[in-house]
């Protein structure tokens, strides 16, 4: 079966996020004065073959733990959809 995975990589809670802080400081200059807690991460999309959605999910989580994220500074949430 063929699956599409969407992996949202975000900075871990408690880890400073310089990109988010810089954007947060810039927003008021454009008049957006009520914004706070800006955090910047990344989105990875990939396609994967697997016997079931559970297998696909665990494959992608394994990729996240071993390669796609650095667990010292990042968390990932994985969404897998059959196509």
């Amino acid at each position: 079966m063929h699956f599409e995975a969407k992996i949202e990589v975000s900075p871990r809670d408690g880890i400073a996020n310089p990109e988010g802080s810089t954007i947060e400081r810039a927003l008021p200059a454009l008049g957006f004065k009520t914004t706070h807690n800006v955090r910047v991460g990344k989105l990875i999309r990939l396609e994967v073959e697997a016997e079931s959605v559970d297998v696909a999910q665990s494959l992608v989580e394994d990729m996240c733990n071993r390669f796609l994220t650095n667990p010292v500074i990042e968390d990932a949430s994985v969404e897998v959809l059959e196509v």
């Binding site: 880890i15 400073a16 310089p18 810089t22 390669f67 796609l68 650095n70 010292v72 500074i73």
Partner: protein
């Protein structure tokens, strides 16, 4: 006997020649180790120099970790062989799990290129021979991702075990506890963001990096 140093080159490495020049000037011998070759050519020590290994894609050092040479580098570390990671090399060593913590973007989101003062926090490692704790060195930095982070548990462990090698006296990048360099528990693997190979002559603005490289070569 002259110590032979292998300087690892990945696609995107750009400090290998400065590193080799500094090593030769200070009495060592050096040669390039290509990342795709799993052999360390019987060198006595290894430097992972600065640059942008594999374009820094995904995260700095994340892809370099899978290069064929890195398996041999990990075994060399395990056997107690001296390994120095400079700048991008430090990032590669953290991604490879040979050093604790991680390096993320500088606070302020600026690429920093400046002379910095760092202080020796521990000399119980391959860079500390001939130096004292508290010694101040002028060594330049040149990085965008040099902001050292680690969990509170790792921080207390590396503080207790004297694994913090250098601290900035004026933190330029937001690093936790001003950390500029750390080592593994045994002290044979060190990573540092400042570039000692660029501080080996008064003509370069400082020769303070020479003592660090001499210790590495001894």
């Amino acid at each position: 006997m002259t110590r032979r140093v292998g300087v690892v080159r990945f696609p995107g490495t750009n400090c290998e020649f400065d590193t080799i020049d500094a090593i030769r000037m200070l009495g060592g011998d050096a040669e390039i180790l290509w990342h795709g070759d799993p052999s360390l050519k019987n060198v006595d020590a290894i430097v992972i120099p600065g640059g942008f290994a594999h374009g820094d894609y995904l995260r700095c050092g994340a892809i370099a970790r899978f290069s064929p040479v890195m398996g041999a580098v990990a075994s060399f570390a395990q056997e107690g062989g001296p390994i120095l990671g400079i700048c991008n090399g430090f990032q590669v060593l953290t991604e490879a799990g040979l050093l604790p913590g991680a390096l993320q973007k500088n606070v302020g989101m600026k690429f920093l290129c400046s002379m910095q003062q760092v202080e020796f926090v521990s000399t119980q490692n391959i860079l500390g021979r001939g130096s004292e704790v508290g010694d101040h060195l002028q060594i330049p930095i040149n990085h965008f991702e040099g902001n050292y982070v680690c969990s509170p548990e790792v921080l207390s462990r590396i503080e207790t075990r004297e694994q913090i090698v250098f601290r900035y006296t004026d933190n330029p990048n937001g690093s936790t506890k001003d950390i500029a360099g750390v080592c593994n528990e045994a002290g044979n693997v060190v990573g540092m963001m400042p570039h000692p190979e660029r501080a080996t002559s008064a003509l370069l603005g400082s020769s303070d990096g020479a003592s660090v490289i001499k210790s590495f070569l001894s």
